[in-house]
């Protein structure tokens, strides 16, 4: 979004609050919508032989584990507990929702985060059972075969599939460095073609949402996020580096349940996941309030799990549910592991959040452009200049000034 658009949205920015109590009538209606939608899905043939129960059996997970997971997802989506059976049913019907997953300028880190854990969580298994029609990283097909399959999937599921995008879109001088297929389609053309026929676009990871690392200064390829390119389609952003599998699953389940996209904040992020500030749910928050900070890696404070604010933690400026959901089935998360938040789910995070210093010490381009200075260095320079100016004026006043006679 360019500055002009952003300014136009000036008064339209929404708060992140999700109303979790909308009254009986609302939830009744929602339940009807969902039941209707799930019935429709049940009528359609399953696209893959894989379903969630097979996946669970293979991993030795019980139905009880599955139902526990379903109630956790219900809570995450901020639905009443009575919706749990519907969520479980949606998970069972995931193999009827076609997904086309394309990769653009990225490191495949979001795919890796989902696929490469040694004990897959149910979130990850769900993503294994979705009807994944196309994914460059995973599929066996290559070359013309892959192209043909993409075309076929797009035609068969026209207007029904979810287009998941991983990676940023280069549109600047370097866009010709990134092409796909024998026809040398640029990433922008590829994205527009695949997104064009989709029901909704899910941008996964910070590269796809805001340009991420490829868009970091000086942004040699002119990388932007999906929402800057694709217009006129519902777009859901699931940033973070990598995006949390729980949030991807939650969003897709929401789509399966309702056929609609979840409530979004002003950056098109689902509010159920990005409606929290890391800082406010952080297990080290009490140390922040107490003024107990880690001063250097491995010091007394670090050993006592004190607050990482002075090591540059950006939890106070970052909205995400990491501090609640964590990663890898709630095993741990960056702050739990002793490193501050780098704000990876916020726009321009690499330039404006990921430096490992408090904001006041960060080297950010001074307003004059060019020279990088910390705010405090610039400020002290400003104060010195003002002091010198005042001193000169005072000295000349004394030497050459004229006091009004009494």
């Amino acid at each position: 979004m360019d500055r002009r658009d952003a300014l136009a949205k000036m008064f339209s920015a929404k708060g992140v609050r999700v109303n979790t109590n909308r009254g009986e009538a609302y939830y009744e209606k929602l339940r009807e919508t969902m039941e209707k939608r799930l019935n429709e899905l049940r009528q359609t043939p399953a696209a893959t032989k894989m379903d969630i129960h097979k996946a669970l059996d293979a991993e030795g997970l019980s139905r009880r584990d599955f139902m526990k997971w379903a109630s956790a997802i219900t809570a995450m989506l901020m639905l009443p507990a009575s919706f749990t059976p519907l969520v479980a049913e949606a998970a069972e019907l995931m193999n009827r929702v076609p997904v086309i997953w394309i990769e653009l300028q990225d490191c495949a880190g979001n795919s890796e985060a989902i696929l490469r854990s040694d004990s897959p969580t149910i979130d990850e298994l769900i993503l294994e059972t979705i009807d994944l029609e196309f994914n460059e990283t995973l599929m066996a097909a290559a070359g013309h075969q892959a192209e043909a399959h993409l075309d076929e999937a797009m035609e068969t599921f026209k207007g029904k599939y979810i287009c998941v995008v991983e990676g940023s879109v280069p549109i600047g001088a370097g866009k010709e460095w990134c092409t796909i297929g024998a026809k040398a389609e640029t990433f922008e053309e590829h994205l527009l073609r695949v997104a064009g026929n989709s029901a909704a676009v899910v941008a996964v990871g910070t590269c796809a949402t805001f340009g991420g690392v490829p868009a970091a200064s000086p942004n040699p390829t002119g990388a932007v996020g999906v929402q800057d390119i694709v217009k006129g389609k519902p777009i859901i952003n699931i940033p973070a580096c990598p995006a949390n599998p729980a949030n991807i699953t939650g969003t897709i389940i929401h789509f399966v349940l309702t056929g609609q996209i979840p409530e979004l904040d002003h950056l098109n992020r689902p509010k159920f996941a990005f409606g929290y500030r890391i800082h406010d749910n952080c297990e080290r928050r009490a140390h922040f309030d107490a003024g107990e900070f880690v001063e250097e890696w491995g010091d007394e404070g670090a050993q006592n799990n004190w607050c990482l604010y002075k090591m540059g933690c950006k939890g106070p400026m970052t909205f995400n549910n990491c501090s609640i959901v964590r990663y890898n089935s709630g095993t741990n998360w960056p702050i739990g592991a002793g490193h501050g938040c780098i704000g990876c789910s916020e726009p321009q995070f690499w330039d404006k959040y990921a430096y490992e210093r408090p904001m006041a010490d960060a080297n950010i381009k001074a307003p004059t452009g060019g020279v990088e200075k910390s705010v405090d260095e610039f400020g002290l320079g400003l104060l010195t200049a003002a002091g010198v100016g005042i001193a000169i004026h005072a000295a000349v006043s004394v030497a050459a000034g004229k006091k009004d006679e009494e």
Binding site: G15, F288, A290, E295, K352, I364, G379, D404
Partner: protein, 233 residues
């Protein structure tokens, strides 16, 4: 009073009280704000956390100073237009008279009081415009600060009701795209603007002292007693 001089009232009691309240809040906000931006002193490690609460107290003082500032700013904004004493707006409008006065006062400053072709008994355009710059900086701190504050109210609730965060979003969300599109930019400019305000204060104090010394009309007394003294013609 010295013979040959007359007393001119320049600030009402309210204006003087406001001035000093704002001055104290300013010092408090800078001292605590610098700590919030980069905690610059260590808390006593031996104390249990519950007894320290150092960051929380710094934030408490900062936010209290801010809200006093905010209320003061609203009153001052009102007085700009509706003061029964002197309406500052009348000195800011770029009328030919004000423009001439502005440059004459400026000329007086840069000629080290060798040229003084204006009536120094009343509030002049130069100083009023200078105060306007301060009030704009303060308004900016108010909006950007409240934007940073509302990040902590992401539940949409507050101790005084849901209307408060809603109003804050409505009134301050524009500061995000305005500063560059991220919450960090708002912080960055909130911090940077502090330095502009300190520079403003430095010159303000210098200039009032300078006037007192070179004009010999007791200008520094205005903010304490409300009056200065000018020669009878």
């Amino acid at each position: 009073m010295k013979p040959g001089y007359k007393k001119v009232k320049r600030m009402t009691a309210f204006m003087r009280i406001n001035h000093w309240v704002v001055a104290i809040c300013m010092v408090a906000a800078v001292v605590t704000g610098l700590y919030i931006g980069h905690p610059y002193y260590q808390t006593l490690i031996a104390e249990p956390a519950v007894d320290k609460y150092v960051m929380a107290w710094n934030r408490w003082v900062h936010l209290m100073a801010a809200i006093i500032f905010d209320v003061s700013s609203i009153i001052i904004a009102y007085l700009y237009f509706f003061s029964r004493f002197e309406k500052p707006i009348l000195k800011i409008l770029p009328t030919p008279k004000n423009v001439v006065e502005f440059f004459m006062v400026f000329l007086n400053l840069i000629t080290f009081n060798r040229v003084k072709k204006f009536d120094s008994s009343h509030a002049d355009s130069f100083n009023t415009v200078y105060f306007l710059i301060f009030h704009l900086l303060l308004a900016w701190m108010l909006f950007s600060g409240l934007q940073l504050y509302v990040h902590g109210l992401e539940s949409g609730h507050s101790s005084i009701g849901d209307w408060w965060p809603a109003v804050l979003h409505l009134a301050t969300d524009w500061t995000v795209p305005f500063t560059g599109g991220t919450y960090m930019d708002v912080r960055y400019w909130h911090h940077m603007s502090m330095y502009f305000i300190i520079v403003w204060v430095m010159f303000h104090i210098y200039y009032q002292v300078w006037r007192t010394i070179y004009w010999q009309e007791g200008d520094i007394a205005i903010v304490f007693g409300g009056s200065k003294f000018v020669k009878k013609d």
